[in-house]
């Protein structure tokens, strides 16, 4: 507690928690987001996040903690939508459609609950300044779980990203690897809902890897840069929010976007690689 007390002298306690929670979330969302980018699953991530809002509503309605509802709904949505068969309607359109229906339903559900109505914006754009110490611990545990699994499954996941056909034909990746990936995307989305909200969490999954891409020549390098950029976005965004009195969640996303611009220009100026 000594450390946090010292920090509290320098700045407000809630800012300290917000910065730590946001940075931990970013450190995990960045590398995981690389795989979302490589496997072209941005649509899936977005729909899972939108369904998360429905999960929060269902959780409150049935008397669970909203986080439990969000995690469960996001997980089911990820597992079901990843298996959506391609038909006359493209999979991406179908997945996007389901996600938005979930978002609409969730919004209607939350708005019908008088006690929650005031918090609606928090569900959509996050409420990072209201993170409790427990929230930070939950975010941290999710981040550790994500990064550990990522390290363990790195080769299989990367093989799937490079060529799913090769990975499956040669039995280098199985159902376990696929399910673990989707489960972690759902988990990051669920804890990220508190930080940047259902509408913006996917930005934190996609922008840092996109910013990292021109800086890297290897997948490992790209994951490392994505972790650093996403983690740095949280304190940077909070600083901007504190200074200019703007909403914190969107400010974190804008900080990530700013780092994307800096990385793109920087890579070009210093003889951009690849």
């Amino acid at each position: 507690m000594r450390l946090s007390e010292c920090a509290a002298n320098a700045m407000d306690d809630f800012l300290w928690r917000a910065g730590t929670g946001g940075a931990l979330l970013g450190a995990a969302a960045g590398p995981l987001g690389c795989f979302v980018l490589w496997r072209r699953m941005a649509y899936l991530g977005e729909s899972v996040a939108h369904m998360g809002l429905l999960g929060a509503g269902l959780g409150l309605l049935l008397g669970f903690a909203p986080l439990t509802g969000v995690t469960a709904t996001a997980l089911v949505a990820a597992l079901v939508m990843a298996r959506a068969p391609g038909g006359p309607i493209p999979v991406s359109a179908f997945v996007g459609m389901v996600g938005h229906v979930g978002l609409a339903l969730g919004f209607v559900l939350l708005a019908s609950m008088e006690t929650v109505r005031a918090d609606l914006l928090g569900y959509l754009f996050g409420d990072v300044l209201a993170l409790s110490a427990t929230d930070v611990v939950i975010v941290g545990a999710t981040a550790v779980l994500t990064l550990t699994t990522l390290a363990l499954f790195w080769r299989s996941w990367l093989a799937l990203a490079v060529s799913a056909d090769i990975a499956r034909a040669e039995r280098r990746a199985g159902k376990l690897h696929e399910i673990a990936f989707l489960a972690l995307v759902a988990a990051i989305v669920a804890v990220g809902l508190r930080v940047v909200g259902a509408l913006l969490i996917v930005a934190l999954i996609l922008i840092p890897p996109a910013a990292a891409r021109p800086l890297a020549r290897t997948p490992e390098g790209m994951a490392g840069w994505a972790a650093a950029i996403a983690a740095a976005s949280a304190p940077l965004g909070l600083a901007a929010a504190y200074w200019k009195d703007i909403p914190a969640g969107p400010s974190i996303v804008l900080a990530a976007a700013g780092l994307f611009v800096v990385a793109s220009i920087g890579a070009r100026a210093f003889g951009g690689r690849a």
Binding site: A159, S163, A169, E170, R217, T218
Partner: protein, 254 residues
């Protein structure tokens, strides 16, 4: 060689897609050390057969048996050179094998100069070599190649097919190959399977080209040309011919 259990075998495979029969009652097996080539016109189900064998598409009927723990090296028909993944050719091959094996494999296919290049920057022919190197780097027991030489020029194509046969000799793997280049295929295959939704004919190259079913499928002009070609080839490569007769028992025309 009938007494050796096949590395992989399919029995009476049937596959439909969107109400259309793609494969009906197709049986096929590959043993260690033999090169089996599947040929057939466009839409004959060659790629579907390979994908079904690899477990990439579910089949409607039939059985697929793999030798337990079979090590496969697969070169798919399509490989997206994805620019979003920063990856060198060396890193790509090392993802599936040790650094030493990766370097040796790249060397073997004449692609050691590509090691530090980004995958996304490769030409079609360079990519074909990188994919072949990746497939052999793990010392597979079975090499499965689906039109592996798209983008390779004609001279390079003949050389690469010779290389595949040499690799077979070196590591003793079975090879299952889909191709539409009949000339090169005929020169290297131990056994040719002629597919058109079902197995039309099957056997040694010279037998298959003189089969009426082959002429019906590809036209008698091509069949006649190839019969001449195979004949000439047999005479200019007695070693290859004797290997064919040794390993071709038990694969009577279907």
């Amino acid at each position: 060689m009938d007494w050796i259990a096949p590395l992989i075998s399919a029995t009476d495979l049937s596959l439909t897609a969107g109400g259309t029969a793609i494969l009906s009652s197709v049986s096929l097996s590959v043993r260690a050390g033999e090169i089996v080539t599947v040929i057939g016109p466009n839409g004959s189900g060659k790629t579907s057969l390979l994908r079904a064998l690899m477990g990439l598409v579910p089949v409607d009927a039939g059985e697929i048996a793999r030798k337990p723990g079979l090590k496969i090296g697969y070169v798919p028909q399509h490989f997206a050179r994805d620019r979003s993944i920063p990856m060198t050719v060396g890193g790509f091959v090392q993802l599936f094998a040790t650094a030493g094996a990766a370097r040796a494999a790249l060397d073997r296919v004449g692609a050691s100069g590509l090691e530090r290049r980004q995958i996304s920057s490769l030409s079609g022919g360079e990519l074909a070599r990188a994919l072949l190197a990746r497939a052999i780097a793990g010392q597979p027991e079975l090499l499965v190649l689906d039109e592996p030489l798209a983008g390779v020029d004609i001279a390079g194509e003949a050389a690469l097919y010779r290389l595949i046969a040499e690799i077979r000799d070196e590591i003793g793997c079975g090879v299952l190959l889909v191709s539409h280049d009949l000339h090169v295929v005929m020169a290297q295959a131990d056994r040719v399977v002629c597919l058109n939704g079902h197995v039309c004919c099957e056997g040694k190259a010279d037998k298959v080209v003189s089969d009426p079913a082959f002429a019906a499928l590809f036209g008698s002009r091509i069949a006649g040309e190839l019969a001449l070609y195979v004949h000439r080839h047999d005479h200019s490569h007695p070693h290859a011919a004797s290997r064919e007769t040794l390993e071709m028992k038990g694969s009577a025309p279907g």
